[in-house]
């Protein structure tokens, strides 16, 4: 252990602003990346489900049994 007490640890021998801002930014960016990835995944799944529902609905309304595979429509690359 390089530090005897917690305040000493936080003070970083007078270099606190530098050490903690560098570490802080890194932590924020890494966490942000993880949260963004999770949010992205949920959103993609949500859009996918909506699209499946919409197309199932359209297929049902037009009265033909349409296989999922060939039904197309809507923009594919909205990302």
């Amino acid at each position: 252990m390089a530090f005897a007490t917690l305040p000493e640890f936080l003070a970083m021998g007078g270099h606190a602003p530098y050490v903690w801002s560098a570490w802080g930014l890194t932590a924020v960016l890494l966490l942000g990346a993880v949260l963004h990835a999770r949010f992205e995944r949920r959103q993609v799944l949500r859009q996918l489900r909506r699209r499946v529902r919409r197309e199932a609905h359209q297929a049902g309304r037009s009265g033909r049994a349409q296989p999922i595979q060939t039904s197309r429509g809507g923009s594919t690359n909205e990302a």
């Binding site: 060939t70 197309r72 594919t76 690359n77």
Partner: protein
Amino acid sequence: MSLRLQAQSLACERDDRWLFRGLDLDIRAGEIVRVEGPNGSGKTTLLKILSGQLADYEGELFWDERPMRKARDAFLASLLYLGHAPGVKAALTPLENLAWYQALAGQAGGESARFRALEEVGLAGFEDVPAGQLSAGQQRRVALARLVLAPRPLWVLDEPFTAIDRDGVAALERRLVEHARRGGCVLVTTHHELTPCAELRRIRLGGGGADAGI
């Protein structure tokens, strides 16, 4: 002299949308093939694939019964492609424009051939006027002069009738038919209705490729 362009189960996907799928083509000497379809059905893309500009397709292409990959040089040397844009430099005169194309093709033909080609397309007297001063139709004619200039057997023409007047259209149609009769081969897209003749064949691309394959 065999002349045969084949495509087997040709498919093109652009950004997750199939322009066409399962397209089989067999184009031989003496044919005029008109590619038809509504806007956005992939006519231009098909012509670009068949003229070797786009490598981004599935399926196989054959030139003279050899796979396109191996026959590419021979194919390009037999091909004359005219795209949407005429490929005519505004700053150069029609003669200079043609001279560049001659050199690109490695042809020996001299100035007289260029004069004759320009005369053929009705540009006699305009040989030394910078192309920028010519009308859109005349610029298109400069491009069409390449049909006369270079004896290439395979013509791939994307909307060649654009901006051409009625006489020019008739002359161009005659030229296509004549080319086919002499053993050449023409692949063309156009909104203009071609006069039916024995050599004419049609390929239809459907919207989104639904009826083109599968």
